[in-house]
């Protein structure tokens, strides 16, 4: 079995990579270039609002290098979790960038587009059949929660990619995908071991984070054989060590031995990490264990309102000592002032210098700092109400007459004018469940399009 070479340019499309690293990768004659473009890490807003957390200019820069190089070599490019969250608008956003590049560079190619946004009626039907289960520690999905959730995506496994590869397209751009799937698909299509292919994919999805020194914006190549894989960073300043690669297995995972994914789990209990050369690591023993039923993870975000915030600082030691009294007093005043209007709102005060970073998890509750940073935050069903609550809380806090006050001109230092900032729509994760699919590819329809040139002269 010939060694299959998979090039991963960067951790997330748009995070960039040194051109030298990418070119070094192309000199190794990869069989495929794959890149993950998304994550739930930046929070629910991006999925809900249909906006990418990556920058358009930065994504275009990366693809401008990747696409022509791959087309010239005749190898496929596979992009997963397009536009960060992998919903329909995110996918369209990425397709638009690809079309723009094709036009500017005079490229023409066939491309598969795989949708990952899941129809709510489909989920509702599965829900009534008892085929939607919560992922711990989430609750059972209710019909109402489903109805109020704006956008739901499913994490596709390798199966839709296998179908797209059969169409002999040059580029595959997919919505939300299980991170390792884009890297493993071409290998699985060629008959390589699924466990090793997916484990290699796990490492290549954040390529140089598994190297030392680590980086989120550098390239790595993976070599897959019959019963092993090897990883090698493409920047000479980095090395893969048995420890750096093994440590990466811990990253963002609950249990590093058992990694559940679409259609089964990756079992790393027998995995060995062996230092091959000074810069490369060989891995063997990783296994894929298929599950009885094929399940797909769903992610959904629900819009809960609009946010306004005000940022301020406090330097007065008497005010700092009495900060709890001030905040509870301001809360009371806000509540009392609008009591007749029955306003529904969320009001929060983040106190940096006390527990602004850790909130309820903070074990040190004594204030040691000579100054505090305050964020006053209001969330309400509409922007106007959020503005009203934030504004009133801010002006009340500014002039609040706390116990022992000597500085009677004002309690807060505002770094900005205007002091209040509209932060727009607010979302919350509302769906994080698994759904049983009858066919691993049924949720993810594929469309084949021709990008660039004129369709009349299809070659």
């Amino acid at each position: 079995m010939e060694e299959l070479r998979i090039l991963s340019p960067t951790a997330i499309l748009g995070y960039g990579f040194p051109v030298q690293s990418f070119e070094e990768g192309m000199r190794r004659n990869p069989h495929v270039i794959a890149v993950d473009a998304g994550s739930t890490d930046p929070g629910p807003y991006y999925l809900g609002a249909g906006i990418s957390f990556t920058d358009r200019g930065a994504v275009k820069r990366d693809l401008e290098i990747i696409l022509p190089a791959a087309l010239e070599k005749g190898i496929p490019v596979i992009i997963g979790s397009a536009g960060g969250s992998g919903g329909r608008p995110h996918l369209e956003w990425n397709i638009d960038i690809i079309k723009e590049i094709a036009e500017e560079k005079g490229l023409k190619f066939r491309m598969a587009v795989i949708n990952a946004e899941i129809d709510k009626e489909y989920i509702s039907k599965k829900l009534s059949e008892g085929k939607v289960q919560p992922l711990y520690p989430n609750q059972r999905l209710t019909e109402n929660e489903l109805k109020e959730t704006g956008r739901i995506v499913g994490q596709m496994g390798v199966e839709p990619f296998l179908r797209a590869l059969d169409e002999e397209v040059r580029v595959i751009v997919a919505g939300r995908a299980y991170d390792p799937a884009v890297f493993a698909a071409a290998a699985i299509q060629k008959g390589y071991d699924k466990g090793l292919a997916l484990h290699l994919g796990k490492i290549l999805e954040c390529p140089s984070i598994a190297a030392a020194p680590g980086s989120g914006s550098d390239s790595m190549i993976g070599y897959l054989g019959k019963d092993y894989f090897k990883v090698e960073p493409l920047n000479p300043i980095r090395k893969c060590t048995a420890l750096s690669v093994a440590a990466h297995t811990l990253y963002e995972k609950t249990n590093p031995y058992i990694l559940p994914g679409p259609g089964g789990m990756l079992d790393l209990t027998e995995t060995e990490f062996i230092q091959e050369t000074e810069r490369t690591v060989r891995v063997r023993g990783s296994r894929f264990i298929p599950s009885e039923k094929y399940t797909v993870k769903l992610e959904g975000a629900r819009k809960i309102g609009y946010r306004t915030l005000s940022i301020a600082g406090i330097r007065d030691p008497i005010m700092i000592a009495g900060i709890d009294e001030v905040i509870s007093g301001v809360r009371e005043r806000v509540k009392d002032n609008f009591s007749s209007l029955k306003m529904d709102y969320f009001l929060d005060f983040k106190v940096y210098g006390r527990n602004g970073v850790m909130g309820a998890l903070e074990p040190w509750t004594d204030i040691q700092s000579h100054e505090l940073g305050i964020i006053i935050e209001a969330v309400a069903r509409d922007q106007a109400t959020a503005n009203t609550i934030c504004s009133f809380a801010r002006s009340t806090m500014l002039h609040y007459g706390y116990k022992g006050r000597v500085a009677t001109a004002g309690n807060l230092a505002f770094p900005y004018s205007p002091s209040d900032l509209e932060a727009g729509e607010v979302y919350t994760f509302s769906v994080y469940h698994i759904i049983e699919a009858d066919d691993p590819a049924e949720l993810f329809p594929i469309e084949i399009i021709t990008v660039g040139g004129s369709d009349d002269f299809e070659d």
Partner: protein, 107 residues
Amino acid sequence: MILKIRLIDTAEVIRSKNSGPYELTFDIIFKDWDTFKLFCDKKLIRKELIARLYNIPEEKVISVIEFKPAKAIKATIVRPIASGGLGETDVYGAQQHAPLLSLEFDI
């Protein structure tokens, strides 16, 4: 003889991060095998310790796992709120490791 060991002196990496939007996971990667083995043998990192450190009930500590290939011990807890929910302070969960830095053990 009682020896005081500070976690920060024995670990190469101490970090926190989301493991999905509903969990927070802590990684401690040790500098050498002897210390890793000592921590495992004596079960120095336990669910009860993590619960006390973060002032949460023990049932909110999902697991404490020893991962030999990386000389690491990993603990995972339920996030107080889902990532980015109302009241969030750390969307990525990357700055929740600090209390681990001041841990000390009597050996």
